[in-house]
């Protein structure tokens, strides 16, 4: 079964540094998402992306965050200047078709640790 793949599985970064988290969505999917899960807390929506632009974003997704689909396969999340509170598990998801009733398929996540 096709999968969403995320790299790296664990990223350790110094506070203030830029970090890029990478995702390869399922190949025929058109809608892409990032979520995060701070340790011990719920999974939170960050941003959705379709047709090369952001379709929805949360309050968490401030100017420090950006997303990009640089080619036909990758979908990236960049944090410009990381803070300690950015430490979390970041999940990428993708969906095939339009409609919020369609299930999102998740990757295994990237654990981001900010020192």
């Amino acid at each position: 079964e096709p999968e969403v793949t995320q790299t790296p599985s664990h990223q350790v970064t110094q506070m203030g540094q830029e970090v890029i988290l990478r995702c390869v969505p399922i190949s025929n999917h058109l809608y892409f998402y990032w979520y995060r899960q701070i340790l011990g807390q719920k999974v939170e929506f960050l941003v959705s992306f379709y047709n090369n632009e952001i379709s929805e974003k949360s309050e968490i997704f401030d100017d420090q965050f950006s997303v990009e689909r640089p080619d036909g396969s990758n979908f990236t999340l960049k944090i410009r200047s990381t803070k300690l509170e950015d430490s979390a598990m970041y999940f990428c998801a993708s969906r095939a078709r339009q409609g919020s009733n369609q299930p999102q398929h998740f990757g295994d996540g990237t654990r981001l640790s900010i020192l």
């Binding site: 998402y33 719920k42 379709s55």
Partner: protein, 113 residues
């Protein structure tokens, strides 16, 4: 706006016993409901979904859930659990007017031999 409440943070159960994981939601619009499972060190895997129609939905691994609109609930059940069902279970909701999933805080199911 939608929200999800999972009242039980942990549910311990013995193998082959039945289990119910509770989920309640609130929304001002029609909702779509999902249960996801997260095994250790893995991502979120879709167990089942309710979109419309029959209120009893069946998913993978023998799980089922019942949508109850009057009680705004979507409880997950399995008649006989296995050790391998030990995982974190998340209830999630989306609405017709939004593309995002709103998750509950999760329930850790621990199955003991």
């Amino acid at each position: 706006a939608q929200s999800v409440t999972q009242l039980d943070s942990q549910v311990p159960v013995f193998e082959e016993a039945p289990v119910e994981l509770r989920c309640n939601y609130s929304s001002s619009v029609s909702v779509y409901l999902f249960w996801y499972v997260q095994y250790p060190n893995q991502g979120l895997q879709l167990l089942l979904k309710y979109l419309s129609g029959s209120t009893l939905v069946k998913g993978i691994n023998g799980f089922e859930a019942e949508f109850n609109k009057s009680q705004t609930s979507f409880h997950l059940r399995k008649p006989s659990v296995h050790i391998s069902d030990t995982a974190e279970y998340f209830c999630a909701v989306s609405g017709w007017n939004t593309d995002k999933l709103i998750f509950g805080t999760g329930t850790r199911l621990q199955v003991f031999p």
